[in-house]
């Protein structure tokens, strides 16, 4: 049995690497802090602290006057309505996009490789969906507010476009993922593509499609509240107005209502997903 005699002290080989990353991180941290103007202490300067504390103090109690609550209820409904209308239009966009871009409904691919034109069309449509998805809905809303003016229209269209791209992509993935045999046998026996969809793909995937759509609807409610900040109406716009007037109690009420709304939508979509399970 070997015994360890005194030899050169053993060095940890990972030491150099760790030291390097630590130094690299520190060196990178400095410009990051400068770029983000990360002067946290300014939050506590007297000129900032006083209005902050007053604003926070106004949170308790939140405003619960009847008239105001009615307004909040109306705006909450508008937020939900914008989200729902937006998703509905997104479906109008997403379903054709998905159907036109899935390979499983390709007739030419039944007998070997897909023909050139259908393949190009499908790729093009995928790129359209990527484009629709990549632009944040806030940007769409900003543009449309300047086209149709302030109000829910801009929000609905923004959500429709962005979520149309998102839903289209996921629908295409869901439709492609299942067993293609039923659909393809329908196509082989001369059924039209739409018939193949209704009799083959849709029943197979209805649960998953619905479940994902409901989940996205819940996300759309959050988006719709955020879009209100650029003038698309609903709870967000009201919150923006109250914040600009430093009205803490109104903001507090609306934040609470918003959190309740999100919680309710979350619970609903979770229940529905379980039911469809």
């Amino acid at each position: 049995m070997q015994t360890v005699t005194s030899r050169n002290p053993i060095r940890d080989p990972a030491w150099m690497g760790r030291l390097f990353w630590l130094l690299a991180g520190t060196v990178l941290l400095w410009p990051v802090l400068v770029l983000t103007e990360f002067k946290v202490w300014t939050l506590f300067e007297a000129s900032n602290l006083k209005p902050t504390l007053k604003f926070l103090g106004d949170f308790f109690p939140p405003k619960i006057e009847g008239e105001f609550l009615l307004l909040v209820a109306k705006e909450t409904w508008r937020t939900v309505a914008i989200a729902t209308a937006g998703i509905a239009l997104a479906l109008v966009l997403a379903v054709p996009l998905a159907l036109l871009s899935v390979r499983v409904l390709s007739v030419s691919a039944l007998t070997g490789k897909m023909n050139k034109l259908p393949a190009v069309l499908r790729t093009l449509l995928r790129w359209v969906m990527v484009l629709l998805r990549s632009v944040p809905e806030l940007i769409w809303a900003l543009i449309f507010v300047r086209v149709v003016g302030l109000g829910p229209t801009a929000g609905v269209i923004a959500i429709a476009l962005t979520y149309g791209g998102m839903l289209g992509k996921v629908y295409a993935e869901i439709l492609e993922s299942g067993d293609a045999q039923v659909t393809q046998s329908l196509l082989r026996n001369g059924a039209g593509r739409l018939q193949a969809f209704f009799y083959g793909l849709l029943p197979q995937n209805a649960a998953e499609l619905t479940s994902y759509s409901v989940y996205r609807w819940e996300c759309a409610i959050r988006s719709s509240a955020v879009l209100g900040f650029v003038g698309a109406g609903g709870l967000g716009q009201q919150m923006d107005a109250s914040m600009k007037m430093f009205n803490g109690s109104e903001v507090a009420t609306m934040l609470i209502v918003f959190m309740l709304l999100v919680w309710l939508a979350d619970a609903t979509s979770a229940w529905l997903r379980k039911e469809l399970g």
């Binding site: 900032n48 998703i87 940007i139 029943p203 959190m259």
Partner: protein
Amino acid sequence: MSPRKMPPPLFDARCKACWFVFGLVCLTVASFWTLDLKWAQFFSLDAAGRMGKFVGEMLVPETSSKFLAKLGWAALETLAMSALGTGLAVIFGLALAVPASKTHHDDPAQWRGMTRAVLNMLRSIPELVWAALLLISAGLGPLAGTLALALHTSGVLGRLFAESIENAGAGPAFALRCRGISEAKIFWYATLPQILPQLASYTLYRWENNIRAAAVLGVVGAGGLGQMLAFHMGLFQMGETGSILLAMLVLVALVDALSYASRRWMSV
């Protein structure tokens, strides 16, 4: 021949979920009804003309060197906001995840309920709303944006980290606990080494999200590309707007690529 299964009926009166979907359809109809949607205005020639003009101008992005320099700085500012915001969120998220998780069978975990409530609150409020709130304290500029991202992402990461901690293998922690070692040391020596890959994966995933969020946060005044965008769009300077949008797309693609490369490097 094996009996072929008929597709399930689309609507079944006994099915709860079917009623719910029917309810959603009613909700949709009600939404369209009550909203004051200006379809006529949207589909009018006037609107189409304006859209056409915007898009036309956007397709000719502004490329003067002075503007590009400002754009570059704004892009760096946005990148820094997303990185610092995510980094801070990792620290706060982990700090909140520890009390929010039940680490072993006999763990009293008395702070779990309250900490989870705090994390839920941080999560539910979108980044933009946080930014708008923080503008009151921090004023215009990227500080509000960074803190907004940090707060929201702490809620998201805190919840994910807490779930990782609870799902970590119990063996190493049990062996150390038998020796009377304190929970703090057990966390660093037994729990964290096991969950580190998951934590890194979640962090990278949120960074990908946060770069998109950071780009638009500026619209309310929180600095970066968003603030530039709101400014130029407000003046209807569509050429500049086009450049800024391009810069946003490039930035998002860059962060996605960095994140992908990091994941590859980590899984080696």
